[in-house]
Symmetry: C2
């Protein structure tokens, strides 16, 4: 028999409010879903849940747009307060064209609108990425280990677009308890050739896999991936950010 991996959507997670404990919310959803965290599981959580619990949601009414934000908003027919929030979350603008704003965040992620998003938050609000998603993942993991007594890994996701390809995919923006990159270099393939450049971004593949049960409009902000033999480790999703000196597309 070949390997087998199962992915379970966690439902019944209460709507998160600022100050909520994410591990409590997840535990409530697990109970509602008839699930528990088992050793070796990967818990995958959408960042939206984490951002809300961490108070990373902003009322647009509270935002005073700069003249630059006003100009960009006028040119591309956007809400200037939304543009202002995007600029505040940006470390650098990578592309600004045809109404699309691709920014590098302070974490080093390159994505549309610096991760600022108006979906799945109340009208008039926008959500931001967590300040330190790896730290958020480590905190959630540590609290869930206390509750369930099971060594596991945690991944926090967002869905990003990609150059050259249509559609967005779930990727890992935070991780704890696993090596996010699986390094095959030096191992031999079935013909004895040494694999020279194969480093798999397994945390991103786990994030993408979990999206298959999470969807966008059902209320399923978390999932368990069970049966994947991840390599335990102290790495985080920051390991997935390509250093500028290696990057041909900065």
């Amino acid at each position: 028999m070949g390997a087998e991996v199962r992915i379970y959507g966690i439902v019944g997670i209460p709507e998160a409010c600022s100050g909520d404990n994410v591990a409590d919310l997840i535990a409530a959803g697990l109970e509602h879903s008839g699930l528990a965290i088992e050793p070796g599981d990967v818990l995958v959580v959408t960042h939206k849940l984490v951002s809300k619990a961490e108070g990373r949601v902003i009322a647009l009414d509270s935002v005073d747009p700069s003249p630059f934000a006003e100009r960009i908003a006028q040119r591309y027919d956007k809400d200037p307060r939304h543009v202002e929030v995007v600029l505040r979350e940006s470390a650098r603008i990578v592309r600004m064209d045809r109404g699309i704003l691709i920014a590098e965040t302070r974490h080093g992620f390159v994505c549309a609108n610096a991760g600022v998003d108006a979906s799945n938050v109340p009208p008039g609000y926008v959500s931001l990425l967590p300040v330190d998603p790896d730290a958020s993942a480590a905190r959630i993991r540590s609290e869930l280990i206390s509750r369930f007594g099971a060594e596991h890994a945690v991944i926090i996701t967002d869905s990003f677009g990609r150059p050259w390809r249509n559609g967005i995919v779930n990727i890992a923006i935070g991780a704890a308890g696993l090596q996010p990159l699986l390094d095959y270099r030096g191992q031999a393939d079935t013909f004895g050739n040494e694999l020279r450049v194969t480093v798999m971004a397994v945390a991103d593949e786990l994030a993408a896999a979990a999206e298959l049960v999470m969807g966008k409009v059902e209320r399923c902000p978390a999932a368990i991936v069970r049966g994947y033999p991840y390599q335990p480790g102290a790495g985080g999703a920051s390991d997935l950010v390509m250093p500028a000196e290696r990057d041909l597309f900065r």
Copy 2:
């Protein structure tokens, strides 16, 4: 209960040779693995298996490098015959720097070495991408439907690097029987906000999910994803190629 998706690795697939029927090879592996294709399954196959069966493997000894290939090879310490094959498979060079050659293939995919790869083929050989991976997927699907009588989808994968992120991930380069993009535009989120830009590249997420059981060095070139409610359709992975006029990163 939330949704549940299972992923099964298919083992015992014979090594593919030029002229082999991919559906026969998959069927042999399914039998060896105690699996059958059920209605609604997504069969995910690495392109390497398909390329070998379609004769898309080249002996480097048969390649006569051009002066340009010789110069590039010398500059970056590569095999000039390998570089020549990459150039022949390229429609356009996107980046050529630090020994890395990122090319656009005739299919419109942007990837390292135009998909030419020396792993999992005999020493002295390189594999190419299938000529028309969507047609390959459609053919495999049609033959497996004849055998198993189960409506299903087929995805052919390769692993690509990404700008800005470390590591490679499995993506769909061929597909048949499903809509590779899931369009949420016009639907409402849990707060009643209309989702405006959310089109998920589900074929890429299915490809990534399957990689979790396929690995790189074990002989597991295919997997079944079961329980994912894909949208049946006539689309192919060519739908995932972003048209030049929408692409900010050509």
